[in-house]
Point group: C2
Chain length 336, copies 2
Amino acid sequence: MTTIRSLGVYDVRFPTSRQLDGSDAMNAAPDCSAAYVLLRTDDGRHGSGLTFTIGRGNEGVVAAVRSLARFVVGRTLAEISEYMGGFWRSLAGDSQLRWIGPEKGAIHLALAAIINSVWDLWAKAEGKPVWQMLADMEPERLVRCLDFRFVMDALTPAEAIAILRKGREGRSLREAGLRERGYPAYTTGSGWLGYSEEKMRRLATEAVAQGFSAIKQKVGGNIAEDQRRESILRDAIGPDRLLMMDANQVWEVDEPIASMRQLAEFNPYWIEEPTSPDEILGCARIREAIRPILVATGEHCQNRIMFKQMLQAGAIDVCQLDVARLGGLNEASLWC
Amino acid sequence: MTTIRSLGVYDVRFPTSRQLDGSDAMNAAPDCSAAYVLLRTDDGRHGSGLTFTIGRGNEGVVAAVRSLARFVVGRTLAEISEYMGGFWRSLAGDSQLRWIGPEKGAIHLALAAIINSVWDLWAKAEGKPVWQMLADMEPERLVRCLDFRFVMDALTPAEAIAILRKGREGRSLREAGLRERGYPAYTTGSGWLGYSEEKMRRLATEAVAQGFSAIKQKVGGNIAEDQRRESILRDAIGPDRLLMMDANQVWEVDEPIASMRQLAEFNPYWIEEPTSPDEILGCARIREAIRPILVATGEHCQNRIMFKQMLQAGAIDVCQLDVARLGGLNEASLWC
């Protein structure tokens, strides 16, 4: 019987602000950081998971992990894996802790780190990577991992099972393709707002040489500067590769409509986080106004209830789930 | 020159769960608590403010207050009061701390406690209660206290000034009325879900004797039990006093529509928090379906951006601002 014996949490920080790595219009000088959780079991297993922050405030998430630890230590892997959805609810739903969210902010980030460490522990016990374990799971079992609270008006467990069962068609073919060609990725490595134009051009050229066919650039500073940087980037990657733009929430609802008109000549594929992550109605309006440029958002979307409404309102084209901001893989899986 | 010399924060808890005071369908056993902030200045003044929690998790808010303290200590009351909106933004907008919200959860609750302590300090320096200081403020000055970020599509500073200026008409009459008759209030003192029916009836009868003309009852447990309790309460307060109901978020979007049909015979004035506080679209649907019963919500509404959308979507009748959950009096003032 595998029982969780301890939950350790580490405040890990990297001084990325020194080189302005990760810098954007909202986050001028981030220090990439994590609240890193390490579970240890009585039979020598371990599982680790994290949530990401950008420096100050990481201590608050670490404190929140400690507040949740009492609901984890002493639980067995057998009971957790038998009903992961119930385990998730026992953490997310503790009424006293829930008050400081609910299901958002530091307490929900802490939940993500813990839940992801449990998935890691479970997958290691099964001897598979997490993605493989999820893909192999029977639909009924996967659905028992999820908490449908506050999404039942859009998706019931029975509907989810039907979708998953249908999704099994062609699964082995898709898996073989994934193993052969890998999973498509883009890079923002060249696009940080604090980088010089020269550094940006060099890194973009290198990314193309490495085989990237999609590149993302930060925008939302001065519009003339945005135009100049996009022009350099489009020039470096050529006309056919995808160029995405990311405003990191700095604009008021009406601003991206004007700004994207001025950036349209560089043929952007999407604009990411065009305004506050809490904007459902605003995003829907922006999306309507800037077609065919797509609206991408979700990195800071707090929980499944907001994602549900984003989809109900037709507010987004590209749903950017973050398993370290949502309450771990369970909550993210609701919309995969 | 009044300079803030120190910011102390206290983790205050009351064991209210022993008697189930404050209990409801979502929060079965709350321990009413606060992160309590005390500012001290170099010239012997002080200001205090708090945010409310229900026990576990209060330590996380206290940690978040400590993370924000560096932006407060050393500031002068003169610079803060000259541009309170900018001061607010310097706390709410620190990009590293903002990441663990943004503008929601523990970090935003902590902001509320700090900001409210600053208002207390300022009002004491002016020798007035806070409400009086706010009411006396010139529209231009009050508007400079607010941060319009992410609400400019609905309300600009110029529009707010015009509204406030118009509101000055009849102000002295309203103030005299307030001083004479007080501010209308209701009580939930009898309505906690964990109270016995006998205790509930006794407290409701006492509340009527004390002059209360409006009483709120918790619902959202078993519907037959809800009906029995509402029947006792309506009987105790008579047909003419207002009876409000509060589900504290326990229902899925479709449930309050069915439940309020079964509770309509007790003539409820409003249903409060009929579902998740993140539900804009769901609340709009509920409101449409249960008229003429009003929808009240906001106690857990995280920030001005959500309130703005609640109003844009026609999702609520009664806007329940909480200055201890929003980022203090400034953010709450946007919708007063």
